[in-house]
Subunit: 354 residues, 4 copies
């Protein structure tokens, strides 16, 4: 919050949540918890569902008509948690009605749709934000700091695993369901000058679901480093681990270990490059191993969604791009589309659109 | 052992170990521990190294001359633990001298070299065995039983991770160093009618070691199932996990969890296929989720290398192919070579030689 | 719920929550989530605190006057989440006003206070329930079934650890703060004919807080089995594990391992008793070791507090004792008081009051 | 080793190992591995057992006659790994024959026996060492440094758990079998001015083995801090954890986690003591919580037994008391005897003999 004087508390931002499915209720709860927003509507095509989410003790209005929201002058901002295929229409209508827009990941169903939203928001000077929730966890916020400060040295590799017995989605494969988390985190923590160049993806649909339920993405980064993501709906065990290997240190994030989510290892392999290279044997001799301490930094306990909602308010108030703006959503879409094309071509490497 | 009457204990098999580096001492120790063998020699080009391995209390003879071993009529069997590049020459000489041969993995430096060894052993009626040690752990022996019995149902996917801060090898990349373990296990546990068809491999050499230090292999199996292997020399943490997903159950092997190495989960996603398929919505409706118990079977505590050595003796005595014979070593080489070609071609999918 | 016909849904039970501190908000949330109750009031001496808990979107009334609640005929039930020292007065007043009463653990500040509440509720035919929340987790519900069914055989020992960096309480020591959880679970899962006979307690106040921050309780059970509880406010790591050893099997409950909370081990030591005992050596010979499988049963994901609230409704409707009735709260008080006396006497063993 | 010049390598110390049961073979292996010793004999009343331990390739002599060893002038040192009940006789005979003596834990069957050995060794100027192996692990060596340096601040509590499905011993209970490890570690890491004052012990023999199979020891330290030890032969899972809580930091040693055995937490509860104490409320206000980083120091990979053997050689050569000398063994016996008396008196607190 940028307002610090007592008594100078700004008026809350009127907000409406569109979509009362899996994610919408979490948005409602978090918007309610902060004085920065005043929730005015919860909208769903299925009015009963919206009512059930609000329950029997709420003063918020349920509706199935989102034009009522767009017409409500007290609504300055919307949050869209509908299926990805509807993001373009709903978000575009909201932008055209002059509302700031927060969209659940992925930003849109295609890179081109996403670009249209980014351009519209730019044109109108409105905030377009993508709800990359993980970027607002204390762990990822800290990882971003650590990676971008150079504390790990030069980035060597990123390895991410996100597997679980998950809901087989009706409209999207496991890559579009789960990898946006890993890709948005990757995009968030990378230094500004490191970009994704190309993607290869392999997948399988062993249960005959009609779409990949297991997938592996390999991402070539502009520095020659490699990132790899494993997503899987069929795993009986839940794993959520990301390793970020650097030339000086390696960081391991285990999101399921609440007492030690982030560990920074001063262990690794060093290679001292002699000035005149050539003699292989001599080169070998210069490999050495570090086996130093491990440090697990203390992290706060802030709820990610609450921090995301605060960033939305702050971006609206400051008329600035939020940390996870439409452009970051667009970069994630670029990687996802390349991955889909690769998957359709037996793992062929595909350049990432910009 | 096939001899069970007291007094009917056969004469021990004279054996020589060639190579006193990392693995040779383990072979010496295990050959010593069984009455099936009598260790006669430990050979290394570096005689001092062989002597140091034997120590000051041993009656075994150290030598740096392996022709002495080949000339020793009391030696019926050799065990070769020298670098892979020398396997062809040393093993071929031993076979030609009429000795049974056990070779440390990989069987040879190339698929063609391996094939020559297999053919030579066949021609001479000698045992050619590959020391795929993991196949002799109680865990993998049990996994083989479980997978091949159909207890897991149809095989859906295999995912294997073998990462650690490892020695960067002088002559081979991380794939040739570590993936033989995973590939030999995969080969060992798969039903006979399931074969590896093609491989794609992605890797990186972020430290400039001159060879890949991180690699990912994707293997297409003949049934359409997928296998994936992650090997990494640079990881500060050690992970050795293999997941075998099936249509009925999923098995997780965590080799670093001694009290629960193997877990069998009755959890998963089921898809009931209606007779006339067509209506997508109807198909969706038939996805269901199982969330049953998990069972961790009791496993024995047998040392793998001891069991491997016993299998070698038994194969020699029975003049039969050992469980991990030259052909299994050859299949592993086929996958490794395809992976190397893929790696050199930016992950292009490559068919596996047979 | 005992009403199953559509349209036969009974009127909700009017309920008021007294105490808006740490636990009260959880009660409010769970009462709201079930149609069995209608929340009418949230009461706290600090009216602002009650208002903050309700937030800006709620139709529930905040008050700081609990006599208003007692006078409200639409309130049939109250839930008391105030400090233990106030339980007697508040609960007694509520009972005398004819309300059913749910009390946060411990039931009261002393065994005698607890007994007065039990007797008052009995006299008036009202439900008196103690919120032993853990007893309503799927894990503990299952453990109760398993232990009482005899699946573990004869009970040998119970070992419970509940340690964490916890809030040093103003009015009670670590035993009164944390051990009620373990004691209520113990009371809940034990077969009806097994009772606590005596308690020894050791503790320390190393930080000079004026009360024990670390404590160990040893409980002698009527069968000769032993139970032991370790509670600690100063531990930097969080552990919540209970082991229940039996003659046939041993159960381990790890509440912090969501994917495998309960594990049942078919491992143990067996002693076959020969008919004529006497020869020690012969007795020794009859010790044998089982090393069988481990099974982790699938457990539901029900929220404990929701299940507790449902049990409260069901007990009120059925005019029956709830699973964790006042008497169970009283038995827990008996053990706590014995532990306190032991602690004051350097660990002297103290009989448990009945 | 105190000799550092090349060529100045001293003659090896002739050593004999007495007892070829569970522990003896480990001693033989480690004495063999160091040039400081020359193993001359392995002695066991069961000559065949000694021969089996040596195997078919060893130049060491097996014997069942320990007087032959005592008469051998080339033997300067013995290592005794026989049952505790025989320690007094065997060790006393060895000392009287002028041999240095290493004894497996516990030093002797009683405190008085132990004292006689200590006095005899003192009188003769011979090394008497107790094989408290854990004290020579890199983890415990480091813990000793950390605790004694004051890095943890003032010692608050020690909590140790050592449970497993273990061999029910014929001659001793679980306390005498397992607690010597924890007690010797406690004795080793404590600052010199902190001593054990009194012990209370609770135990159970639920399987009717004739001796306690589960036991809990509470130890009052001279500073008012508390130590607690849980040992158990019946647990289906293996736990070996020790927590050392201090006023500044808390250390957790998990011996079964090879990648993170020791963790030092900068988390805890602080109490700022105002000069004039009196007002309880004010005191409460001064409790604060630290939630800082955790550091897991890098530890070497040295085998403990090898380091113990080196310390034995070094003490003999330097004619100095070894780190775990007879006196430390005696202090452990003092605590064990007090625990046994307490156990026999239903947990009564018993003073520790000095």
């Amino acid at each position: 919050m940028t307002y610090s004087l007592a008594g100078d508390q700004p008026d809350p931002i009127g907000v409406a949540v569109i979509g009362a499915g899996y994610w919408g209720p979490n948005l409602v709860r978090n918007f309610q918890a902060t004085p920065s927003f005043r929730v005015r509507w919860l909208c769903d095509l299925d009015l009963d569902r919206a009512r059930r989410v609000l329950g029997g003790y709420s003063t918020i209005t349920a509706t199935d008509d989102y034009s009522a929201i767009l017409d409500d002058d007290e609504v300055q901002a919307v949050a869209i948690a509908t299926p990805a295929g509807t993001h373009l229409d709903v978000a575009m209508a909201a932008l055209r009605a002059g509302k700031h827009v927060l969209v659940e990941k992925p930003l849109a169903a295609t890179f081109d749709d996403g670009r249209r939203l980014v351009e519209e928001a730019d044109r109108r000077g409105l905030v377009l934000m993508c709800d990359h929730t993980y970027c607002y966890t204390p762990a990822v916020a800290r990882i971003r700091e650590i990676v971008r400060s150079g504390e790990l040295g030069e980035l060597h590799y990123v390895d991410s695993v996100r597997i679980n017995l998950g809901l087989v989605q009706r409209d999207i494969d496991v890559m579009w369901d789960l990898a946006p988390h890993d890709l948005s985190i990757l995009d968030f923590v990378l230094p500004d000058d490191v970009t994704a160049v190309a993607v290869a993806a392999h997948g399988a649909d062993p249960i005959g679901a009609g779409r990949s339920c297991v997938a592996y993405l390999t991402i070539e980064l502009s520095t020659g480093a490699i990132a790899h993501i494993h997503v899987n709906w069929l795993s009986p065990t839940k794993v959520r681990t990301t390793m970020v290997g650097g030339s000086k240190r390696t960081l391991v994030w285990d999101d399921l270990n609440p007492t030690q989510r982030v560990s920074i290892f001063d262990r690794g392999v060093d290679l001292t490059m002699p000035e005149e290279l050539g003699d292989d044997e001599r080169r070998e001799a210069l490999i050495s191993y570090r086996s130093g301490d491990m440090v697990a930094p203390a992290l706060g306990e802030r709820e990610a969604l609450r921090a995301m909602v605060d960033e939305y308010a702050s971006a609206i108030r400051g008329r600035r791009a939020p940390l996870t703006d439409g452009r970051s959503g667009l970069r994630v879409l670029g990687m996802l589309e390349a991955a889909s094309r690769s998957l359709a071509n037996r793992g062929e490497i595909v350049e990432v659109a910009r």
